[in-house]
């Protein structure tokens, strides 16, 4: 699977034109255009055979975006055999992605999330309108975006704020004040490595809040909501809670991570 963006190249010359995409002004990259143009005159059996090539160094290898184009074309032509063969190949290529990218869930839940994403992907790829056009622009980005959305939904289902809002100790209160005073809360990759085990043990919501603060650099929150800047939202603004509540969440996260920082 190739997740890197191909370098900009000139569009294929002297090759048959490729039907343009219509959604949001999307344009396929030069590699995809060249692959489509090179193969669109080939017989379905040849396309099916080429699609099975997994070695990216092979000049006949087809990117996922190109597979999507030929899958849609086969579907529109009523060529079920080619459509199903190309879809099976794409599914095979997606396995590795789902196995490594859905983290922090039980194996069963991970399979369910992967299934949910595949179901939506099918609806996009074979949609009769242009809603799936981005799959021919940047397939792996689309798959990642849809997977993260599914992960977000799965997290929201199990989210529980109440237990996180309990009062913190006096020590925690002082640490909270320190957190709020932090002006440049960026975490270096070394810091992240050091506490990665601890992060994995954190409640998913606390983990998110901690990373919003320390990796996205979001402010804890303003005392007065009217002072918030929607163009640069704080964590409190995003969750629609007080800055004090966010401070408590961060204190809990810090307290639990402290052991790993010292280790």
């Amino acid at each position: 699977m190739s997740r890197t963006k191909p370098a900009p190249e000139e569009a294929a010359k002297d090759l048959p034109p490729v039907p343009p995409l219509t959604r949001n002004g999307y344009v396929r990259n030069a590699r995809t255009i060249r692959q489509i143009a090179n193969h669109q005159g080939k017989a379905p059996a040849d396309i099916r055979a080429i699609a099975r090539i997994r070695d990216e160094a092979d000049p006949r290898w087809l990117a996922a975006e190109t597979l999507v184009f030929f899958m849609r074309r086969a579907d529109q032509a009523g060529d079920d055999r080619t459509r199903n063969a190309l879809f099976a190949e794409l599914t095979e290529r997606c396995k590795g992605f789902f196995a490594s990218q859905i983290r922090g869930f039980t194996p069963d839940r991970r399979e369910d999330i992967a299934q949910e994403v595949m179901t939506k992907l099918v609806a996009l790829i074979f949609a009769e309108d242009d809603r799936g056009d981005f799959a021919q622009v940047a397939f792996w980005s689309l798959l990642e975006a849809r997977t993260l959305t599914a992960v977000e939904r799965a997290r929201a289902q199990g989210r529980r704020y109440e237990s996180l809002d309990e009062p913190v100790s006096a020590d925690g209160e002082s640490r909270m004040s320190n957190l709020e005073r932090l002006e440049a809360p960026g975490l270096q990759s070394d810091d992240l490595t050091m506490i990665s085990e601890g992060l994995a043990q954190l409640d998913p919501h606390l983990r998110q809040v901690f990373l919003m603060r320390h990796q996205l650099g979001m402010a804890v929150g303003k005392e007065n909501r009217a002072d918030e800047d929607p163009a640069d939202p704080s964590i409190a603004f995003h969750f629609n809670v007080s800055a004090r509540t966010v401070g408590k969440w961060l204190t809990k996260a810090e307290t639990q991570l402290a052991t790993y920082r010292k280790a």
């Binding site: 002004g25 590795g96 983290r103 981005f134 959305t149």
Partner: protein, 209 residues
């Protein structure tokens, strides 16, 4: 990109990942500035992306899991194609007989609130559309298509539903006026202007009209 294109939240997130494979503060603020109507979705999404990256990679699928995954994906394709064939041969009865957007939403197993969020509408505007309080000929085609997409229907059916007589809010049975019809005066642009949408979303829909 067409300035008249009401971009969906999914479109925005796809582009965000493609442009910023690693979520950063700069990337997030850039996208919030570009799509302020999707601010909450962008923040949640970036936080989830970071959260996933902070966790150790999961183990590869076992042979059994991989086989099951491939089988379930093939079933997803079969189910989709079966549903599409059914819809082509006879448009879903529920969708066809629906007389309002909320009935279409119920038939599609979704809610108008969710559809409104996906299309950058507010509930006031969506409610007016549902009750046909906006002059149908002023409703942009892109909105009709967007509604059809999210309601699992067709643009023709949605157009038909939007063109019916205005509906009053449900009223108690003891009220005599419950079936009275009311004149529809408001245009889509006026309804957008009167809505609580953020300025960027108002501008987008006003341009689309």
């Amino acid at each position: 990109m067409s300035q008249f294109s009401p971009i969906t939240v999914e479109d925005v997130l796809d582009q965000f990942v493609a442009e910023f494979p690693e979520p950063t503060r700069d990337g997030l603020l850039t996208y919030i500035a570009r799509y302020p109507q999707h601010r909450e979705a962008l923040v949640s999404f970036a936080a989830t992306a970071l959260e996933q990256r902070s966790l150790p990679p999961a183990e590869a699928f076992s042979h059994e899991q991989a086989t099951r995954f491939a089988g379930r994906a093939a079933s997803a394709l079969e189910n989709y194609l079966f549903g599409r064939d059914q819809a082509r041969s006879a448009p879903a009865a529920a969708s066809r007989s629906a007389s309002s957007l909320s009935e279409l939403a119920a038939a599609a197993g979704t809610s108008l609130a969710l559809v409104a969020e996906r299309l950058s509408l507010d509930m006031g505007l969506t409610s007016k559309l549902d009750r046909r309080l906006i002059r149908a000929e002023t409703i942009p085609r892109r909105l009709v298509e967007g509604l059809a997409e999210h309601l699992g229907s067709t643009a023709e059916i949605v157009s038909q539903v939007l063109r019916g007589p205005a509906r009053m809010s449900p009223a108690p049975s003891f009220m005599i006026i419950r079936s009275a019809s009311i004149p529809v005066e408001e245009t889509f642009t006026e309804a957008v202007a009167a809505s609580t949408l953020p300025d960027a979303a108002k501008e987008m829909w006003t341009n689309a009209a």
